[in-house]
Symmetry: C2
Subunit: 320 residues, 2 copies
């Protein structure tokens, strides 16, 4: 290990609001972290130039060798290295970001969507180290997932697999952002949770809460104060999530399911009903063989560690 | 090809009622087919001896070289080569059938569950030749599935993955044989179809049909006569199946879904509503990128071709 201590991977976590870079060492420590507002860049070429400049100014020292760059981004397609019609990015169409970054930096670049990046990060630096069968579910504005089965990430025919957020849980159920009804995302995302919370607040005679509580974080504080509307909203969300996780087992039979994203800040208010619902809904052969855990990656660095891991895991695969 | 024309794989299709053997050549032709009643064998050792005797008497000729044996059986576990607590077989517990057959015949033996065997068969001899991402769904007494993703069969942690029949489609829905409610199998198996048919017959004022119609085959004849109860029962079953297939895409993003098993004898009565429901329920990115087809294997030989393919695919993997 010692001889390789000066090897780093550059990471870019690209979101609709922020674009953040860092160098990641082999132990998962971050260096030279720098961020921009995504909308500052008039084109993806301008972003690639900024990344190249950051690398040149901050990271080119004699004792630092950067092996390559990994990118995690919404609608990132590993097969093509492109961002495909991302609804939340300022540039439209299909953007060949991996190639642009490679040309600007002179480094090999691998790109994947943010949920797969989270799964690679968990695999390399988090709770999934050494596992061959696991799933990472991101509970944010939407619900994303990365599925590792028999030691390989699941991509599928168009490299658009592992969209757990768009499995239909409740036929003719709640309207989802995708235009269909009853998806996991409509119930288990932060957005879905807030809809459940507001519905409950009105039903239970607390309409002022529907106005005052603006995020799952506010709701968590309310739950800490003992308020039943907040606790019930987390319970209902956990019940849907447990069912979604149980269905997931019937596909890929994972040994662990890791939850990450903003909603997991609710802790046991969400986890306890999730585990109960999972136990109730999972096929008996999987019971006692599947763990449900919170991601072991520190929230503020998880996306960058994931992005770096996209490059690391691609490299290992190519080499071996 | 010519130099290998005398190479065969022995196949055993083991079910609760029948055990059938054949030699399969490289073009998928069957030779020396022979069957027994499964319950004739007092032990799995007796079955292995019968298989060895059949091989010796029928298949040991100078111009025949048998490379090995493949077995498809309910609750077959590829990892261990055992039958694990199969509810419909006469022998209880965990049966090391691959080892028993290997010892009796002197041949290498690979074993898998019947749904995975069907998928291997489709891959080697059927409509999935050359595909890397597809799913085979067996619609029989139960609903089984084999999922091939990125060129590999999905097994998972306990080698118990790909149980599409036990994904919950309808929370708190119809009771399933597994003890839970609302599984795909409770609606889309031949058994589930018959429940739907009988419910409809009573609702629509034809209680005598609930008695007279004993199988999906009877119902198909009734549908041919134009009877609305039969046609509606197939339509409802197809609607559930289309939803199940749509959910499947959000996991492994297959390019084709193959249906096999007794229920597909209903043809367009089942397929047309399945395709409509799939179109309605599938996430838009998968639409127009996923075919739904009937298995291209001849029904009476599909299980034997599948069993032979279990050996063939295992061998290829080991070799390369």
């Amino acid at each position: 290990m010692k001889a390789e201590q000066n090897f780093y991977v550059a990471a870019l976590d690209l979101g609709g609001t922020n674009a953040v870079c860092a160098l990641v060492d082999q132990e998962g420590n971050l260096h030279f972290k720098e961020g921009w507002k995504t909308r500052e860049f008039s084109s993806p070429e301008a972003l690639a130039q900024a990344v190249a400049l950051w690398l040149k100014e901050k990271a080119q020292k004699p004792d630092i060798l950067v092996l390559g760059m990994g990118v995690g981004a919404p609608s990132g397609n590993r097969q093509t290295g492109t961002l495909d019609f991302a609804p939340n990015l300022p540039w439209k169409g299909r953007i060949p970001l991996a190639r642009l970054i490679s040309e600007a930096t002179g480094l090999p670049c691998a790109l994947d969507n943010d949920a797969n990046a989270a799964a690679y990060g968990e695999w390399l630096f988090g709770g999934a180290r050494g596992l061959r069968d696991f799933v990472v579910i991101t509970l944010g504005t939407g619900v994303g997932s990365g599925i590792v089965c028999d030691g390989r990430m699941i991509y599928g025919h168009q490299a658009l697999g592992a969209e757990l957020g768009h499995v239909i849980l409740q036929p003719e159920g709640r309207l989802c952002g995708c235009g269909r009804r009853g998806c996991v995302e409509a119930y288990c995302s932060a957005t879905g949770f807030m809809i459940t919370f507001r519905e409950l607040a009105h039903q239970e005679g607390f309409p002022e809460l529907a106005e005052r509580v603006r995020s799952p974080w506010d709701a968590k504080n309310l739950a800490d104060e003992g308020h039943s509307v907040a606790r019930t909203a987390f319970r209902i969300t956990g019940e849907w999530l447990g069912l979604a996780l149980a269905n997931c087992c019937a596909f890929s039979n994972p040994q662990a399911l890791f939850l990450t994203g903003g909603l997991v800040g609710a802790g046991e208010y969400l986890l306890q009903p999730t585990r109960s619902s999972f136990e109730k809904n999972v096929l008996s052969v999987y019971k006692d063989h599947t763990r449900i855990e919170i991601s072991a990656l520190p929230g503020e660095n998880a996306a960058l560690l994931g992005a770096a891991s996209v490059f690391q895991k691609t490299r290992k695969k190519t080499e071996g």
